[in-house]
Symmetry: C2
């Protein structure tokens, strides 16, 4: 086994996952070449990835802590301890994500985060970052990747290759044509379009109300509308990025509302409070692209114990649990821990990580798909709200025993597949209790009374088993 300083590691993609992996492997002393198709954002300005901001939660923070970047990143993030629901009349309801007021997800700018990670990677003298080097092919036997650069094509061979090149990964493409590679790409019938809410002053809102924001920045805003929805996350510059999730076809769809259609009328009717805060709505709607939403699953994630996929390249998911980046960062953290466990044998670490991580990736892919229904529809249902209150009550009663699914996914590092099972039980218990409260007409209890009833019901259940 060669020492790290003589081991050449090639990473395709310097997005969030590739840059974090470079930090980790750089720290371990490997000779890292990090290849990125875009120009250096520190010189050229950031050329967007997919979405402008992201929700960072426990798994992402845990991974950042491992490379000492958690404080820096958290400093530029905005706490969102709950959801703010907007109904058709503009009425607001706040739903805390947790009964523990410490728990919050955090809105962070994709570009800021990427810059922090690139800077950190660059500080390692053994990490070389090559911009304007697009990975256009991979040879899994070498292993090597082929780069398209401003001066031509180039093949770069390493002892190991890591495919961190996203949902449409070229490295994965090379794996896909090898025998016995299982692969699935599955698109939603919904697409998305990003829209803007500017700072308070620019849309006629009293700037003193929300510290210069047009709405409360400490929430993930949702306009749930059954088959579709809009959400908004706050940005550092006091704007909000709204994302409209809409079917491509059919009633209430991108096909129905043409770019030059009656956009303002439509928003006035369906999102009246948001529409008032969107002075550039017509322009944004007409000019911003419609994105599609893909889930990618595959296995095995590695070939010949020399090439490994991480992040979206291995498991692209839909954004509805806010876990895409967090799952990718967790990949990096777990892979780094595996390297430690096998005392630096990268081949063994690649095989072990690739095999052990697939069930978790499949679980969060499923959960993210299911959460779309919750966000766009269930959140507006009184029985759902009651169930959430019961979940929080259970959690307050015994945080160990009754950690709800959302908390396990967003505020713990329990493997996603385990969280799904453990948290699913709490959801079903809360559902059952909420159902019996509803049957008894006890839907309007205050927190104290609710807790007393939940305790009574639990005691009764225990007695009957």
């Amino acid at each position: 086994m060669k020492p790290p300083s003589e081991t050449h590691v090639v990473i395709a993609g310097a997005g969030l996952v590739g840059a974090l992996l470079a930090c980790q492997l750089g720290k371990r002393g490997y000779r890292v070449t990090l290849c990125e198709r875009r120009p250096d954002p520190r010189a050229a300005g950031f050329v967007g990835g997919r979405s402008i901001n992201l929700a960072l939660s426990c798994r992402g923070i845990t991974a950042l802590r491992r490379v000492g970047l958690d404080d820096t990143v958290l400093a530029s993030s905005i706490r969102m301890p709950g959801r703010m629901l907007h109904d058709e009349k503009g009425n607001l309801t706040f739903q805390a994500y947790s009964s523990n007021p410490e728990d919050a997800i955090r809105s962070i700018s994709r570009s800021d985060l990427n810059l922090i990670l690139l800077d950190a990677a660059d500080k390692n003298t053994n990490v070389e970052i090559r911009f304007e080097s697009r990975c256009v092919g991979a040879d899994l036997n070498a292993p090597s990747i082929e780069l398209e650069t401003p001066t031509g094509h180039e093949t770069i061979t390493g002892d190991y290759v890591f495919g961190c090149d996203g949902a449409f990964s070229t490295v994965r493409g090379a794996m896909q044509v090898t025998d016995r590679f299982n692969y699935q790409q599955s698109y939603l019938d919904h697409g998305y379009k990003e829209l803007l809410i500017p700072p308070a002053a620019e849309c006629g809102v009293d700037a003193s109300l929300h510290d210069g924001f047009a709405m409360d920045p400490h929430a993930l805003h949702i306009w749930p509308r059954g088959h579709y929805m809009m959400i908004a996350l706050p940005n550092d510059d006091r704007t909000f990025t709204c994302t409209l999730f809409w079917p491509f076809e059919g009633p209430n769809s991108f096909a129905e509302l043409a770019p030059d259609g009656p956009v303002r009328d439509y928003f006035d009717e369906h999102f009246p409070d948001a529409s008032r805060l969107m002075p550039t709505l017509e322009y944004d709607y007409a000019n911003n692209p419609i994105g599609s939403l893909v889930t990618v699953r595959c296995s095995p994630w590695q070939r010949h114990a020399r090439t490994l996929l991480l992040g979206d390249a291995a498991h692209a998911i839909v954004p509805f649990y806010g876990q895409g980046m967090n799952a990718g960062f967790e990949d990096c953290r777990l892979f780094d821990e595996t390297i430690e466990q096998v005392e630096g044998d990268l081949s063994v670490a690649i095989e072990r990580f690739a095999e052990s991580r697939v069930p978790a990736a499949n679980a969060i892919a499923d959960l993210a798909l299911e959460n779309f229904v919750e966000m766009r529809d269930s959140v507006a249902d009184p029985l759902f709200l009651l169930r959430k209150r019961v979940e929080h009550t259970l959690h307050r009663l015994d945080a160990e025993c009754y950690m709800p699914l959302y908390n396990l996914v967003s505020f713990s590092n329990m493997p996603y597949d385990e969280a799904r099972i453990v948290g699913g039980r709490v959801v079903r218990l809360a559902q059952c209790i909420a159902g019996s409260l509803q049957q008894d007409g006890e839907t309007g209890l205050d927190d104290e009374a609710l807790q007393a009833r939940v305790v009574a019901i639990l005691d009764h259940m225990e007695g009957s088993t």
Copy 2:
């Protein structure tokens, strides 16, 4: 709409489905260019596709009848009205596929069938077949395909392009990188290897017993062994092609029994009666390749109403229901009927067929996977055998009302997805009756007694609803 004679249709792949499609479109007067990577088998000898022989059943025959080739093909086929099960001691049990003695699947040589179809396509003066022309790319906007020929690369543009280029379709590859193309390739943990049983005379069997065959040719032979199995289908030349379906790894697997391992000992132990009929076993095992088994699902099957996938390119399935070729031929038949329904508007036919056929393709993909368990395991289970007898009894009682799933799939043209639902009900009813017979200890009834009990149970069920 241009008349057929001025409409240029390009077909990628002159395997079974591509050649049949060329026959159909040629008959309709289209100008067809049929492109095939292999040399002309009529001059060069047949260079194998995947398996040597295939099971032809109702759907395939119906499609062949449409182009007037059913009689020619059936003449060179061998009737298999049931399964012959071989246990570990070499004991035989025959299971008819149907209560109707007319029903049979038919063993047919892939190469003979392909030659018949190529000859028939070639008889149309408006069909041009280009051999040694491998499709290496496709442009869905033209639409065109890129061919690699002995003299170089060539692009061939048509009014329409049909991708009949199999499970690893290049045309589908071009679709896969377009937005919102859903795609899945999924491999079994089992692979397969073909082995040979020569004519009776060459393996010491009395040639008068089975008309020169070493075993009864009028059956699909199965050696069910729980997690794995071997099957054998008869060939025209009085040989059988055996196919061993085995896990790649683990106990009883290709990994465990190396090409130079104790192959004869293993077969003597697990397939004693077959082993005696396989004089070239060691050589065949060492030299024949191990194939993998993939299921491919995708949608949509068409792009711009100009390019369409058919057969394995659209829906590769595992071979355990003997429906891969039959499903591909049914694609051709249904597409041809659709052309008729829309009065020759190929664009509309492409869109309509592509959308309507997906549920059937997904159903047979699932059924084929499920049938692997039935063939390798359940067929040896007494309760399963009783259930099959009850299915046949029900079928005899009322063929309209109680058509079992196997019959609907193999001996009818009912869409696979509908067959799955309708036939599934009969399977569950038979399962329920067999269970109650078992409970009452009535497992050894003769046919007459069984029928009387089934009628009584049905009457009782009717009375209680």
